[in-house]
């Protein structure tokens, strides 16, 4: 058998997603006018599930495919589970909105599938070029998705802004890749590691390469100082799209970042990038916490919250230890549940005149008008604020534990203080929902599927979710170990 077939088999999820997205396009085109959206969406969810099932069959040890361009290991498998689940949830949660807003075009789930494919490639990339291909494949559908509400000026603006800045970041990243190639002589991550550890003195060109690559990736995870697009895009893009942006792509880009840094630049170059990551982490936590205080739009608030959360997650990357990576994966998993849950609640609400509830004032007195939704939102907010016993506290705990065990006590103290500042605006939303009087009637739209997803996310973030910590810790530490060759 030709080795390409073996490689295709190893890249099971990507193969399924590639074929599936093409099939979905066909299906959408040929199914009747009214049904195309529903049929394609359900088909897309089935494809995502199928891609997930191929992971069950994944080889236990790290396996290289496509001549070293692609790697399937426990790390990529773990992240793909998160990405696939988040993507499936994003497809489902958009359904009522798409039907409602007369943009009910079946391309939506197809674009989602393509973006998910790109993310799968991202977390499995073992080569800087695969990385770039995956990143672009994930990004291009995202630009379209951001502008999906094309009649709405804000949506078009968000798409354009995202595209221009994203293209710039890709350029920077690509420039970094060429520098690394020039000074290390390879684009394959493990080969770079070998060459770099053989070099006797620090190569300035390589350092520049790392900085450029990190800048490009920081844009993708929306870390400070490359975060500027996030609030605007979240606010302008349709809410389901913003929900999607806040979950799966973040998981993929963080996973990618960790792999590139840990695998390609270990040992004596590690302190160089650790400094950069620490700076990015501190800046993101601080800015995310402070800037959100002044927001009155819930989507902008959640955007700043996601910036702050990326900062916390990067604290786990700073020490570059297996425990830190494990904590990072734990953080991503819980973060996806919290952010998807929050966006689901936002998506669910309409003010009395049928407008989507987007300002904080629209949430006034929600605990009286919609007690269930208010309770779920309160759980997400307390969880995002990191108050025990809600699950959201424990990933913070894990990343800071990893940082302190590596001696980064200052980082931990700054991080915790930032989390106190951040608690202020999470509390503000709770205050508005629970302490204020209702401003007007609030409608709850969206089908039972969205309701069930909100309940599931709230259950995960509630103290009951703590029971999942042991199995999660087991899985994340196994996944993290895959990045560190014994």
């Amino acid at each position: 058998m030709h080795p390409i077939f073996a490689s295709i088999a190893i890249a099971g999820p990507e193969t399924v997603l590639t074929l599936g997205s093409l099939a979905a396009l066909m299906l959408g085109t040929f199914s009747g006018q009214g049904r195309a959206l529903t049929v394609t969406s359900l088909f897309a969810v089935a494809i995502l599930a199928l891609a997930g099932f191929t992971l069950l069959d994944a080889p236990a040890a790290s396996t290289i495919a496509f001549d070293g361009l692609y790697v399937a290991d426990a790390y990529s498998a773990y992240l793909k589970v998160i990405i696939l689940v988040a993507a499936a949830a994003s497809v489902l949660l958009a359904l009522p909105w798409l039907k409602d807003s007369n943009t009910g075009r079946f391309e939506y789930p197809v674009l989602m599938l393509l973006a998910t494919l790109g993310m799968g490639i991202m977390v499995s990339a073992n080569d800087l070029l695969t990385l770039y291909v995956g990143l672009e494949l994930a990004a291009l559908p995202s630009y379209v998705l951001a502008a999906f509400h094309r009649a709405d000026e804000r949506s078009a603006e968000a798409g354009l802004k995202y595209f221009v800045l994203g293209a710039l970041a890709s350029g920077i990243l690509l420039y970094g890749v060429t520098l690394v190639y020039g000074f290390a002589g390879s684009t394959q991550l493990d080969v770079i590691a070998g060459i770099v550890s053989g070099q006797s003195e620090r190569s300035l060109g390589l350092l520049f390469g790392i900085v450029f690559i990190l800048s490009g990736l920081a844009f993708k995870v929306s870390a400070v100082p490359f975060h500027m697009w996030t609030p605007d895009v979240y606010e302008g893009a349709p809410t389901p799209v913003a929900a999607f942006f806040s979950a799966a792509p973040k998981a993929a880009a963080l996973g990618l970042m960790a792999r590139v840094l840990v695998v390609a630049f270990p040992g004596k170059v590690a302190p160089d990038w650790q400094q950069i990551i620490m700076f990015i982490a501190i800046a993101s936590m601080a800015l995310g916490a402070v800037a959100a205080v002044a927001q009155s739009n819930i989507k902008r608030l959640l955007a700043y919250s996601s910036i702050a959360n990326i900062g916390f997650a990067l604290v786990g990357l700073s020490p570059g230890t297996p425990a830190g990576i494990s904590a990072l994966l734990f953080y991503i998993s819980v973060y996806v549940a919290m952010t998807l849950g929050s966006f689901l609640v936002v998506l669910q609400l309409r003010t009395a005149d049928g407008r989507p509830a987007e300002t904080l004032a629209d949430f006034a007195g929600l605990s009286k008008t919609r007690p269930g939704l208010a309770l779920a939102m309160a759980v997400f907010m307390f969880s995002l604020a990191g108050i025990p016993p809600l699950l959201g506290f424990w990933p913070k705990f894990a990343v800071f534990q990893a940082a302190i065990d590596a001696g980064l006590i200052g980082l931990a103290i700054i991080g915790f203080i930032a989390s106190v500042v951040a608690a202020f605006y999470y509390l503000r939303l709770i205050k508005i929902m629970y302490f204020d009087e209702p401003a007007g009637a609030v409608e709850s739209v969206g089908g039972p599927v969205n309701g069930a997803m909100i309940a599931a996310c709230a259950l995960v973030c509630s103290p009951l979710g703590m029971l999942a910590m042991s199995p999660l810790a087991l899985a994340t530490s196994r996944a993290a170990a895959a990045l560190f060759p014994a």
Partner: protein, 521 residues
Amino acid sequence: MPILSIMILLPVVAALVVATLPGGEAERAGRARVVALATTLIELALGIWLWAAFDQTTAAFQFAEKRPLFAPYLDWSLGIDGIALMLIALSVFLMPLCILASWESVQKRVPEYMAAFLLMESLMIGTFAARDIFLFYLFFEGGLIPMFLIIGIWGGARRIYASYKFFLYTLLGSVLMLVAMLWMVGFAGSADIGALSRTDFPADAQFWLFLAFFASFAVKMPMWPVHTWLPDAHVEAPTAGSVILAGVLLKLGGYGFIRFSLPMFPDASAQLIWLVFALSMVAVVYTSLVALVQHDMKKLIAYSSVAHMAFVTGGLFALNSQGIEGAMVMMLSHGLVSGALFLCVGVIYDRLHTREIGRYGGLADTMPKYALVLLFFTMASVGLPATSGFVAEFLVLLGLYQTSTWATFVLTTGIILGAGYMLWLYARVAYGKAAGEDTRAMPDLNAREIAILAPIVVATLWMGIYPKSFMAPMKPAIAEVVARLEGRELATVPTDMTLSPLKADMALPALAAPAHAAETH
């Protein structure tokens, strides 16, 4: 039988039941009250059983449970010693009274209110029963959520400001403690509180660890100058919220000191007594003076709480058994007495809807039963012999005298000032002429209110006349803490007032002759 788990989980289950009760609004409110009262009474019964079954001769953790449910982050590890037992007993004793006190005064969103209180009870018991340091943190911090909601939803006019202040102040203190905890567990390789208490941390690390824990406990305590959240939170909280705040939540700081700071950082504790003494002395004098000029009854009692809590810190950092025992009795006594005083304020607030002292007067004529009860608790707060306050203050001063006579001298002035503001409060409320017709028309205590206040009167008298019942379970645990502190090098504090017959000994003095201490009182 995993009694501690049951005591922690039962209120949670009850809270879920209360929150999801069927029926119309009035029906739900009625049922919620009954379920909440029944649950807290069952908890009280379990607490009494716990006390009865407790082995008072050992300092070991009893009723131990350990399940690695949340490995590797923390274990569900529970167990209590005498100190924890007494504080759990205080919590379960006050809880049914709080529910009863809110029976009529809370009419808004009753099921949610009862659910918040039940969650609060669960978290408080958990805080005292946790043996894993991170489990302790979980309960310790988790208590912020229900209290935030209680103040914010059912509080008074400035409730939102007060709830934020309460939440953020205490959170900021606690995160520093968490950093320290993470470091300690990394150092010691175990998160078990018992094991950590036996770990000798390096002396220079102890200094920073102590300060990190101090940041958290000083806010919870609260000590001057980080006490400012307390008057705001108290004034805006509903009556029962104030009772729980004063009765139990303020004890978390003292409990933290005795459970963590003293045994885990004995060297730093001995070195930093000057800091604690200085803050305690300022607190006693300053907050007593502030209490004197208050027009709001709740604010006055809140400031008096800060002063009483300064006695607790003074006693704890006397670093000898009398001082620590006195501090523990002070915590229990203050839990009862200030809780009762807030309930007394609640009684007249329900009738006149103002806490302004000037709006009352002449209650001794119009509400004789009430005036009697208020007089009793005023005296208990002042520390009249035969009440619990006397035992507490006497022991604290006795212990403190051996460590620093100056601190003893300044703290003693607190008793005089305390008598000043409490008696003046009583005089303005109960004597003189009624401020208006509506004041004169207030009915006296009804049966429900008597049922709430009578048990506290009995407990206060019991603790004042026969304190051994309350001190016996704690003695072995306190002896263990004192053993950890023995022989540590003390900071140089002005120990000698020249009149003192004791030598200015730099090592921790052993038990002093009671005769010397008696002179100071």
